[in-house]
Symmetry: C2
């Protein structure tokens, strides 16, 4: 049984895999992902993954068979286990509990060659709906306090399988960085009776220099104090504390912004690996006045992460104003008329 | 002029290099360090670095010439600049100040082939004295609130030059993680009137399972809730809030523990890259009852740092009890009798 353990000084929780602990020789450089080899996420291989938890597929088709557009399964090597009791306890001065939680994989598309950025808008929106549906479902489990959605794209960002996928971890605790956002934004709210994210969006739209892209409902910015070069946040313009509270058509609008942001990143940074993380309110918190959900996208361009997560101190060689300008100036191929039309 | 900018939500400061901002094509994979090529840190090449700030060398020898045992110079590509005023200011809702600070390189030994773990104990102690002397000196500058000492060992940990060195950054702010330690340990002190680190050391020495090595004055442990596999903390057994307040002979005792800890890591993890960071009290804070200085060593074994520093949530595949046991069981070559003696 994995364990959730709390640091006694700064109260940060970590997951410790106590069952199949990695020994020193397990850390030798892992082999590259086999390109073109067997892929458990491809249609036809459904029996090689754990049984599906949810899939979007035409009505009447059987589960765990091809025909799906998005498919969600348990992670075959889960960091947390779903069955059991939390059993919160102490060990002298230390606090720990059983590593109970959900660890799921969201297979974004049946096409092995596709990436999020090459999906059509309706396909991209399906991935965003899947995030929502899984958070809604897991929110009913009283053991969970937070559902973390994230994506590792590219080997250097932590992806171990090539077929495009996102991940979900359901947790009995709220991750440290979300806790800090909640308390920081609450402090601002108490001072000003305004959401700090709403204030930020207003200033960014006025100044314009850090805006990457916007539509009626969403805006993508390079934040004022980014930890990493080309870090991008995508936020709803209207105040919303929880990702799962939007109307269906709003997720489609989100896809319409998210997709070209990723395509611009792909072009500007030559398809660099990246991580993104959905920051949303803890489960069962509805309509928090001070919190504002958003995505944080972090391209993996620099090597210093070890020192930086050891000190909490970041050195960023690219001003966000420059990054936003590069991303705005990217010429997407789709902007040009198709060859067939331009010659008529 | 670089800038220090504060995130408006969680109040984290970052350094933004506004002068020579990296553009997208600057992030193409950097070439490997040339082995055997020209090294600016080697004796005889002193004129190729910025002038030395401090060096340990026999009395009477001129500065910036060979003969030194430890040498400290300004970083040729500093993240912060030493000349100027802080000029704290706002930009709408955002806070920033000029990127004033010190960025120094501590060249640990004249020998290009040496690493910290291959130095003799007196040589290692010289490096520890150099840390102390630089912190003491920079503490006199009223613009600085924190002096951060760290080491990136190996390319994957962020080292761009092969010749063994540490770095120092003098800051007008206290890094986020140190602030969290200060407030977390203060809360413990208010509740119990005891230092949380002292409590932890007491429990660790009693339980023994996470102790890697100890001597009369220092102990090396794998912490109860480590973020990374084989993370190690080295702490003074006696309560001390600041690294710079020890007696000379205590630094020698520290070297006597630190050196075999690094050698054991080298053997267990096949010389894996690592980072270490000195956590000490902010400058001009003397004898804090609640804080306890220590080193945190983090081997660079896993790839997930991007997601992890984006969420503040860590998954560690190696229990610290296992890591400590592997490290205790490492057979150091020096433990065996020299070949010449064993056959007599």
């Amino acid at each position: 049984m994995p364990e959730l353990r709390k640091d006694p000084i700064i109260s940060r929780w970590v997951i410790i895999s106590t069952e199949r602990g990695k020994r020193p020789h397990d850390f030798v450089v892992e082999p590259e992902v086999t390109k073109g080899g067997f892929c458990p996420f491809c249609p036809g291989n459904e029996h090689t993954t754990p049984p599906e938890i949810m899939a979007y597929r035409p009505a009447g088709q059987p589960a765990n068979s091809p025909g799906w557009t998005v498919r969600v399964v348990s992670n075959k090597f889960p960091a947390l286990v779903i069955e059991g009791e939390l059993d919160r306890r102490g060990e002298g001065m230390y606090d720990l509990m059983n590593g109970i939680g959900a660890h799921e994989v969201i297979i974004e598309n049946p096409n092995h060659q596709a990436t999020l950025s090459t999906l059509t808008i309706p396909q991209f929106a399906d991935v965003l709906y899947a995030y929502r549906d899984r958070i809604r479902d897991l929110s009913r489990d009283p053991r969970f306090r937070y559902i973390l959605i994230f994506k590792n794209s590219g080997r250097a960002a932590g992806a171990s399988l090539e077929h495009s996928h996102s991940q979900l971890i359901g947790l009995p605790i709220v991750p440290e960085l979300v806790q800090e956002e909640l308390s920081g934004s609450l402090m601002h709210y108490r001072l000003k009776e305004r959401c700090v994210f709403c204030d930020m969006i207003r200033q960014e739209l006025q100044q314009g220099v850090r805006v990457v892209l916007e539509n009626e409902l969403f805006v993508a910015i390079c934040p004022f104090a980014p930890r990493s070069p080309f870090e991008i946040w995508i936020l709803p313009k209207k105040h919303h504390s929880s990702y799962i509270d939007m109307l269906d058509k709003e997720y489609l609008k989100l896809a319409e912004l998210f997709s070209p942001v990723l395509r611009r990143l792909d072009v500007a940074l030559n398809r660099a690996p990246y991580n993104f993380i959905l920051h949303t309110a803890p489960v069962r918190e509805t309509h928090m006045e001070h919190y504002h959900w958003h995505f944080e996208i972090m391209p993996k361009l620099t090597l210093m992460a070890g020192f930086e997560w050891g000190s909490g101190f970041f050195i960023n060689p690219t001003p966000p104003e420059d990054a936003a300008r590069y991303l705005r100036e990217v010429q997407l191929e789709e902007a040009a008329p198709p060859a067939g039309e331009s010659t008529t």
